[in-house]
Symmetry: C5
Subunit: 355 residues, 5 copies
Amino acid sequence: MKKHLKNSAKRVGLPPGTLLHVGELRAAQVSVRQLEYGELDCREQWLDLSELKSCYNPMAKDRVNWLHIAGLHGVSAVEEIGACFNLHPLVLEDILNTGQRPKLDDYGDYIFLVVKVIYRPAAGEATTEQISIVLGENFVLSFQETDYDLFAPVRERIKSGKGRIRRLGADYLAYSLLDTIVDNYFVILEEMGERLELWEDRLIIDPDRDILAEVYSLKTEMLFLRKAIWPLREVVNALERGESRLFRDTTLLYLRDVYDHIIQVIDTVETYRDMVAGMLDIYLSSVSHKLNEVMKVLTIISTIFIPLTFLAGVYGMNFKNMPELEWRWGYALFWAVIIIAGLAMVRYFRIKKWM
Amino acid sequence: MKKHLKNSAKRVGLPPGTLLHVGELRAAQVSVRQLEYGELDCREQWLDLSELKSCYNPMAKDRVNWLHIAGLHGVSAVEEIGACFNLHPLVLEDILNTGQRPKLDDYGDYIFLVVKVIYRPAAGEATTEQISIVLGENFVLSFQETDYDLFAPVRERIKSGKGRIRRLGADYLAYSLLDTIVDNYFVILEEMGERLELWEDRLIIDPDRDILAEVYSLKTEMLFLRKAIWPLREVVNALERGESRLFRDTTLLYLRDVYDHIIQVIDTVETYRDMVAGMLDIYLSSVSHKLNEVMKVLTIISTIFIPLTFLAGVYGMNFKNMPELEWRWGYALFWAVIIIAGLAMVRYFRIKKWM
Amino acid sequence: MKKHLKNSAKRVGLPPGTLLHVGELRAAQVSVRQLEYGELDCREQWLDLSELKSCYNPMAKDRVNWLHIAGLHGVSAVEEIGACFNLHPLVLEDILNTGQRPKLDDYGDYIFLVVKVIYRPAAGEATTEQISIVLGENFVLSFQETDYDLFAPVRERIKSGKGRIRRLGADYLAYSLLDTIVDNYFVILEEMGERLELWEDRLIIDPDRDILAEVYSLKTEMLFLRKAIWPLREVVNALERGESRLFRDTTLLYLRDVYDHIIQVIDTVETYRDMVAGMLDIYLSSVSHKLNEVMKVLTIISTIFIPLTFLAGVYGMNFKNMPELEWRWGYALFWAVIIIAGLAMVRYFRIKKWM
Amino acid sequence: MKKHLKNSAKRVGLPPGTLLHVGELRAAQVSVRQLEYGELDCREQWLDLSELKSCYNPMAKDRVNWLHIAGLHGVSAVEEIGACFNLHPLVLEDILNTGQRPKLDDYGDYIFLVVKVIYRPAAGEATTEQISIVLGENFVLSFQETDYDLFAPVRERIKSGKGRIRRLGADYLAYSLLDTIVDNYFVILEEMGERLELWEDRLIIDPDRDILAEVYSLKTEMLFLRKAIWPLREVVNALERGESRLFRDTTLLYLRDVYDHIIQVIDTVETYRDMVAGMLDIYLSSVSHKLNEVMKVLTIISTIFIPLTFLAGVYGMNFKNMPELEWRWGYALFWAVIIIAGLAMVRYFRIKKWM
Amino acid sequence: MKKHLKNSAKRVGLPPGTLLHVGELRAAQVSVRQLEYGELDCREQWLDLSELKSCYNPMAKDRVNWLHIAGLHGVSAVEEIGACFNLHPLVLEDILNTGQRPKLDDYGDYIFLVVKVIYRPAAGEATTEQISIVLGENFVLSFQETDYDLFAPVRERIKSGKGRIRRLGADYLAYSLLDTIVDNYFVILEEMGERLELWEDRLIIDPDRDILAEVYSLKTEMLFLRKAIWPLREVVNALERGESRLFRDTTLLYLRDVYDHIIQVIDTVETYRDMVAGMLDIYLSSVSHKLNEVMKVLTIISTIFIPLTFLAGVYGMNFKNMPELEWRWGYALFWAVIIIAGLAMVRYFRIKKWM
């Protein structure tokens, strides 16, 4: 979460619009995959860097041209694509800077979206990366840091020709990408929900200290989720209100659906935050309560035996003239006093509800 | 509360509009009950799936057609009704997905409402389910997860012809359903209020640890209520402002009444939240205070007897040459010292207000 | 505060507009007092239920007709008045339901206000009740739960003909009732302020546990005040902005004055809330601090005497061959060691600032 | 802070507009000082009550007439001035009621401002009072509770003819009074800042209990400042937006400057609040930490010596048949066991990082 | 952070517009550096105070005149520049008062910006100062407290003629200065992030008390950052919305970029605040937990040995008639009782999960 800051600092003093990859190296090599389709057919290919110049035909209004670029350290690839699709230098700079906040910039001919995705690959850790999407009239560019195939389901749907997707143009494709990204949040939320449920039960049965580390880690993850999803909400809200002419009315209905999903994610994150806060309160109260229990035991034992020990110490003294020691029933009397005193104290603690 | 997330995750990768029941199986079988009424008569019947196609006559403008569907796993029933009433695929998808947030979508010819209800059946636990309502010009569709007969009072009123309900059309019926749902919140709030009062008294008399589990459970329930009722407020507010032409002016007055009730529920939930937070504070302070009490007892006892025990120990030593042991009044002097020291310490604690 | 919920639940399933008294029985009998006045004269009388039908003459535009109804269990009285002044069924329902939130409903010909009042009778407890006010062009209806004569000062002013009140019409009368209600809040706030000041002083001199119960009770009372006064603010704000034509411009200036008073009440309640929260913090810190003090005493005593007691115990052992016991200055040496060790420890605690 | 409430309650039941001084008696006698100036000359005089009637000449459009009234218990003086300048009864009532919240009322011909000032006289305590300002086209009335000469610098500037003040009319004079009032907040804030810095240092070196009382007193003072300055912000904001025609464009620039100062005061108060909250957190953590330290010492000492004392007690027993007592190296062995056990425990505590 | 308040208080009583340097003396001497450039050439020189009068040629519309003044105690230099560029007295007053809040004042012909910068010189401490920027049609004035060469990269870019900067006029220069200032925030944030990460790890491995001072210092630094950056957000937002005609459309795109950066800084600061709060919670819980551990050890040891010591004390008594002492297996029996009692208690603690 803090990594991008280390890199943003690298840029200090550089003129704006300088292309420089800011972020970790997360993909082995840069790959560009093109999917070009119309209502009837669909062509998929991997593009070489040298082919990028001629990859776009602005005249083919009825076809959609989807370029997916994985790996952002290839500054020259991004530059070529920028030249080919006529993108503003600030857009290219933002694509390469992986420390962006989700946002929407409308450049008239195209809109530029930055989104954060969080997903869990089949085997592995939850991963987060930045996805940049450029939507034009008949093209969609998507830029991803790693080469994890996040958008495979969308590509499959296009290739198989199932559903509306082949008919509904570039804006519907952009919506589909957004929808896939938001759907991945639910997977992570579901995991969190399961962890919360688990700890909720442990908290009641046996609150132990591990809960602290877990709570801290859950809280930090939720901070990340909030930071990613709150600005996304504004982005999708702006789109859904129809502020850009690139989204047609039929697609707006679907964007509203994505918007509802985002609100649901936010709602759930907020609920989880409240629950975690509540769990921490309960844990702290439990710790206090346990301390009380421990101290009561200590106090009861000490209060009963310390005075008795004193009495035993007294009759262990070696004074010459201690009449009690000579009494016939001295020892028996001692025990009688001890037992009565002990019982009196037990009674006292019972009244005080400490036992 | 977390269940629906587990299911929402199931949808990842599916194209939007795919009909898939997301949620638990909560009703034994799908049942469709039709109530068709005009000002003068009223006809009730259970519909078979095969009859769904012909259940709607859009021409009968002066009659109201209310279809109540219990059990959402019957995807085909929902599909048939969707086709018959010409509903958008996203509406059908949302009806089947029980993890929705309360919302209002206006599709022009009809409006689509998602609401959460919480009720307590005659014998049993508080139950929550999602109710979807579709209101058209002369029809109301209501979809419920279980087959609990929530809307019985409304149906009875229609059948008996009492009140305004037979005269006032489909929008008044939709209002009546909403009113019933909101009324059920009050029952739950009343129970909460009683539990709060009970614990409030216990807290002052004898704060014990059970309060923690109770506080956590009350807090979680309130989180749920808030999550259900806050969006409902926006929904009813939008309706009440007359944004949809399907609600006539006479009904708007009644919606304002429902809106007032919702605000009252929200107010009460917020008050209860503040009270629970206050109770937790008081509990924590009580625990601290009790710890203090316990520690004072321990400290008083220890401070009095530990030095005395030391003194007794000293005169229990076996040194050859201990003149005090030989003194005639040695033992008496010992007791004198002990008693004076003891009294001095008691006095000291009195001054310090520990006793 | 929770009572009204128990009663609201009673309404579940009833059709809207059903007249049913929801609330406790708080007045022995229903009484209706009429004050009818113009600029020059004023007539006061108690009305029988049978006279209610003819109590209103809508033609007497230049006279004000004030009906004050005390005791809400008289459903039929409310019904008669409703019929006579032509009120909407929902208004009558709301008048009878004492669990309302302060609100303003504008019905065109008249406006309907629900307000909460809190007052302390000459001898007795702070009492809260719901006042409903209906203001028409030349009439004011006021409904009160108990028969406490809250509006006596207003009535006296009318009868004595002092001030502007006889000249300024029904809206000025409604304003005067509101003003009286808001003034009563100040009395309660003053009491709270005195209690706060008292506890503030005690907190610094000698924080004890009673403060907890007091803090909880103050907090709960403030919750009630907030719940009553925040919506009232919106109500008066709406009136003061001149949204209703029933209030004339000259009266609006006076409403602005009431509005200022309400803001002042809110401000004070918020300040008190912050002060109470601060007091609780201080109390908790004091408890922690005291615990520290107690523990220091215990630790100092234990740390000094426990090792010394051990040493005394050693020389109380009965081993055959203990050379120290035979030494001539053994016992003196023992005391020397004890005293030096004791002083060293006292010094150590001085350095650690525990003594 | 609570005093005015006690007095506001006095008003309950009085008709609005009744002139009654609400507040303490804070000035020995009522004094009225008139400063009348144009661009070229300036005349200052003390007015008797009898002269008040003729003190104002509305025709002298190019001259400014500033009346400063110190001491509010002179109800008749306020009444005379009200009559002379034709002020609304509610204005006079508000001037005399010192429990007002800062506010702005625009009466068309004049505007009425209520402001709270806080200042520290050369020798003495921080004092707070209410200043009421009435600004007309060519006059300014300022009402103050005490006779402290708060506006001396402004008067000096007018008399010496320095700066713009003689040329710029009544609105600039009102601005100058406001500016003087806001400047006085900075003096108080500076003091608070110094106290905070002092305690910040003490907190780190040696947190003791006095900090609690100080924190509580700082918090209460800040509550007062907030209560005085937040509404003032709205007042000046409304003026600065040019809502009143009495302020000319050239003066608006200066009002923006005052507005910036108010924002700065608010900012600083909020920062201080956060710092105080942070200090309390640190103090509480310190107390907990110290308790831990104390308890560790107690536990170490007890854990080492209590078992050893037990062992010494065992060999002090008088059983007939205790073979160890007869051993030749019994006593030496005892010491060996004691020392080894002691060292083992010290090591254990080292590993646990308690020592 | 509090320093400026001490100085603001100095101004009390002075007429507005009086030029007076408020702040510390932070630069050895006042220096004025002029950079005058057009698209083709660029001239840099240091100006003497006597040359300030003639430094500006308003007619050279196509050239940019950048004056950078370091050191604010030179009141006369600021006055000369003010006269030469025709600035309002309030602008000059604000430039000299280093306790300003970031703000934007639009004076029509020029706009006046106050900004806070925080930077870390190559070797040294984080430093904060106030930068005032005045932007006119063809000039930029920048005022800085110290002589640290903050804007060196911008000057270099102008002199080398690289990038757009020579072509894009005075507004682009002002943007470049803002961009440099905001970039410096990232450097500080990166450092904070590293400190946070460091402490996060320490917190989990070994929470010790140093964390408190660190948390307090981090919190205070964040308070400062927030105070500097939140108002800056509003300033840049107002500029970016194109409210001033001095910023051309091409530059607005770049301002949006700066705005995005500011939002990112705010976001990160908020996240850090939440993380610090979370760390404090965890630390406090750890302290409680550790106290619990310590107390358990003390209680176990005391509970086991105190009763046993009592028993040993009993048989150390010197009563004449103690039959147990005479028993043959008395001593062995004593040990048997001791061991069994000890084991029973250990078992009890195991069950209670204290061991």
